[in-house]
């Protein structure tokens, strides 16, 4: 009998132990919502977001979609039958990997920002208040960065999925928000970040983090985009957005005081009570909607620097830089180049070959007639002596593409280090001034608009000043012919500001989005289609020929995303 019973008893015991064995207690598991409970961990999380912006994937995406595809450029890949060529010629399909990368890299950033934001309530802080301020400033940067990633997406794809800050398995697929809703979300993030982000400019060892200048500059840009004719919002009037842009510009550029309510639009846009909002944003207890922020706190944070200095290594993190990503030629891991700038091969020197080689179009060059900024921006086959100061054969580029021109803006002199040390400038104060000038003109203040635009031109004219040692390299440009703009009616001022911006920001990954928001992308694509370069190689470029008006202003949602969501995430019109 025992021979039967004993095996049965042992078996039962053995099998009952299996349940515990297969459902072990997880040790060391950190609940997702409290991933960053320590301030230092929160900072590490923030660093991981900046790391995305430092990546080649992110910056290459900005280069391709912001510059290469625009009317500023002819590219080596215009004539290639590969996926870059298909993209540049608007003959891509919805599986194009560069479209997918742009989508994915920005959502990666959003996801990391969301991790930080949802952890904020759980971070331990000391009671003396100092850590609370630090937490708030990390929080402000996370909101600013999330807004920037969504802005990249909305400019490229139109309305996109707004990912919930707290994600569950049931919320991985989120239907797309409308264009209006997406812009409203971005704007809200930026307006809230203004309450908590560092009210100054990070310098020295802290340089590279976004301060209030970055958030104000981006908010102004987002408002101007919403007001622009090429952005077809359904529920918001363009005039209202010009007025909001004016309000922010007066605060940031002119130093006019502003209330918290004006910055947040708390009275009209919030369902939360002030107490709830105050708790969520970690605001100081004394802050109310009526609290006034003095414009003097922000007006002097950023200024224009010398044009022949801002793109040099010595000009990194200058007062003109609103937001800049650091690069250097070493890493904590001791691997040379891990943190380096990796776009040199796409812009300044493609001799080693890279994904894409961008060159300026002659149409862009023509804008620079008698403009001292030309030699610092682009070059023909004869490279200016300015770049030969240290090396008679500087490592600038390749010839024979398009109009045989080159971008020189990002050249790094040998004495400055390798090209890998070059920082990536995301936003400059000069752009903000021109956005404000545009806003003023739209608001009927064309004289003031000209005054601000002339600040940019006066700065450029200093390149010709006899006291400037670099003036000798600009001998062919006459100071007398490089004049300030004159006061003029609205349409002339509008066109002058547009031209000024194209010159000032040439090669800075913004042109495509600029012509889209202005509603002139179709005519610009028709222009490059009708004015292809005559190349020694005899290659025929068809850029612009297949641009489909009403369709290609936005790119398709990656097909993979549409399929995975089983159609919940809908495709854009025309794809």
């Amino acid at each position: 009998m025992n021979k039967i019973l004993l095996p049965i008893i042992f078996s039962v015991l053995l099998l009952s132990s299996c349940e515990d064995f297969f459902t072990p207690v997880q040790k060391g598991n950190v609940p997702e919502e409290v991933f960053y409970t320590e301030l230092n961990n929160l900072r590490l999380g923030l660093n991981s977001v900046y790391d995305i912006m430092q990546s080649k994937n992110y910056q290459l995406s900005e280069l391709i979609f912001g510059e290469a595809i625009s009317d500023n450029c002819w590219n080596g890949e215009d004539v290639e039958v590969n996926e870059v060529g298909q993209l540049l010629n608007f003959q891509f399909d919805t599986d194009n990997p560069y479209i997918l990368t742009r989508y994915a890299v920005n959502y990666e950033g959003i996801n990391k920002c969301n991790q930080i934001i949802r952890s904020i309530p759980y971070v331990k802080y000391r009671q003396n208040g100092s850590s609370e301020k630090e937490i708030r400033e990390v929080y402000g940067q996370a909101k600013f960065l999330r807004a920037l990633f969504y802005f990249n997406l909305v400019k490229t794809f139109g309305g996109v999925s707004i990912m919930p800050e707290k994600q569950t398995l049931n919320s991985l697929i989120v239907p797309r928000s409308t264009l209006d809703e997406t812009y409203a979300y971005i704007e809200k993030d930026l307006r809230e970040s203004l309450q908590i982000i560092y009210r100054g400019r990070y310098q020295y060892e802290d340089a590279g983090q976004a301060g209030i200048g970055a958030a104000l500059g981006l908010l102004l840009k987002v408002l101007v985009y919403q007001a622009s004719p090429g952005i077809k919002l359904q529920t918001v009037s363009h005039d209202a957005k010009w007025q909001e842009a004016l309000e922010i510009g007066k605060f940031f550029i002119e130093g006019k005081d502003i209330t918290i309510n004006q910055l947040l639009k708390f009275d009209s846009r919030y369902d939360e009570t002030w107490a709830e909002l105050s708790k969520r944003l970690f605001l100081e207890s004394t802050t109310t909607p009526e609290t006034v922020i003095a414009g003097q706190q922000v007006v002097n944070i950023h200024q224009l620097d010398q044009f022949d200095r801002i793109f040099r290594v010595i000009g990194e993190f200058s007062a003109e830089s609103l937001f800049e990503i650091n690069h250097f030629n070493y890493s904590a891991a001791g691997i040379s180049g891990e943190e380096g700038w990796l776009l040199n091969g796409c812009i300044t020197d493609n001799s080693a070959g890279d994904v894409i080689a961008i060159t300026p179009s002659s149409d862009l060059k023509d804008q620079f007639a008698n403009d001292p900024r030309e030699i610092y921006t682009l070059s023909g086959r004869t490279i200016n002596d300015y770049f030969k100061q240290e090396n008679t054969s500087p490592s600038i580029g390749w010839f024979g593409i398009g109009n045989s021109l080159l971008f020189t803006k990002f050249y790094v002199f040998p004495s400055e280090g390798t090209p890998k040390v070059r920082n990536y400038r995301v936003m400059r104060f000069a752009e903000t001034l021109l956005l404000y000038a545009e806003t003023l003109n739209e608001a009927g203040e064309s004289r003031k608009a000209i005054d601000y635009t002339n600040m940019i031109r006066k700065r450029a004219r200093k390149l010709l000043d006899p006291t400037n040692p670099n003036a000798k390299y600009n001998a062919s440009v006459s100071s007398a012919n490089f004049k300030d703009l004159e006061y003029a009616p609205y349409d002339i001022v509008r066109d002058a500001i547009r031209k000024e911006k194209r010159i000032e920001m040439a090669g800075e990954f913004d042109r495509w989005f600029e012509i889209c928001r202005l509603g002139i992308v179709a005519e610009r694509m028709a222009f490059i289609s009708n004015n292809p370069p005559v190349e020694p190689s005899g290659q025929t470029r068809i850029r612009g020929k297949y641009f489909k008006k009403g369709v290609n202003e936005t790119f398709p949602i990656p097909q993979k995303e549409v399929l995975i969501s089983n159609g919940v995430i809908t495709q854009n019109f025309g794809y």
């Binding site: 004289r447 006061y487 003029a488 005519e523 008006k549 009403g550 097909q559 399929l563 019109f573």
Partner: protein, 359 residues
Amino acid sequence: MKSVIFFIKSVLLSCIFASCSSDSFISDIYIEPNATFTINKTEYDVHESVFFTKTGQGQKFVVYPGDSLHRYNQPFNTGYSTASNGTFSYAYNEPGVYTAVWVASSINENGEIIKAIDSTQINVVAKDGGLEKFVIFNTYKMTEYSGSVFFSSYGEFISEDTILCPILFDAWRTSTTVNSIKAPQLINFSLSSTLSKFYWIENGIEREIQSGLTSSRIVKFLVDGKLAVQNFVVKTASGIISEYHVAPVIIPKMTKFSINGVNGTITRDIAYYNKYNVTITLPAGTDLSNVVPTFEIMNNDVNLVGNNIEVSVNGVIQTNGTSAINASGKTVEYKIKSFLLGSDNKKLLQESIVTVNFQ
């Protein structure tokens, strides 16, 4: 014993090979192809997405949308595989009637590809070939600016088919060749479809013009010496015709202002097309509370001025040489309304503000 084992092994081996030679499992999973499919609408705009969805069955589906290079059974033409769930979307670049072919296929037990085919007609029309932008470009070189700064007239839609183009009075010059609204004009325009064409109607004849091309500098707004509404037509590739009317209306200018024989100096506010300043210095002791100015609008040119001009101060209509004003505040603001001469359309209106400063 060995022979028994050998026999058993042989039987088992035969069974294995026998099972291998049968493709019965393929016939079990074979799906008889049926190529029926649906599209989501009956008529589409150019570039509008057409969504195809399978309603039949098969192992694979390929779509031939029917436009150039994608026609079924034509040499060098290709089709598109559908997504794994049997859906496909496509957008046509040009209007037309396309035969979209849907091919469903499966492989049978003999390794043969069995196909089924279905097709449908897709009607694509250019619904909106309309005019989006109209600019009378570089009409007049403005001498008050250094360099080459031109006046261009940006058309404003005052109704669905009527565009008003404001014209600076300085462009009303005698030249009939260049630099004057009286000369043939260059038009910059934008149509919502790149396949549409744009025509100016001259004496009932359609003359195609292209945006910004010097060879298209043919459009005249002058008829019998007067500015007149011109008619234009947009024709879409699918034959839809839309007519537009463009009215050039001069922004009125006060060309003379005097009191008691003293002429004022008239200048345009350089930041506006429709704001003028008059500076007038009257003899000391003049009673400014009751002065009667004489004024002239657009040189009283009979081709511009008739019963279409209205001058007012604080809403009170002013009559040249008759109406008195109170200038004791040293500044008086005149408003000038100018309608298109000879037109009853009260929307064809331009207004100017003239600020008179008494020294």
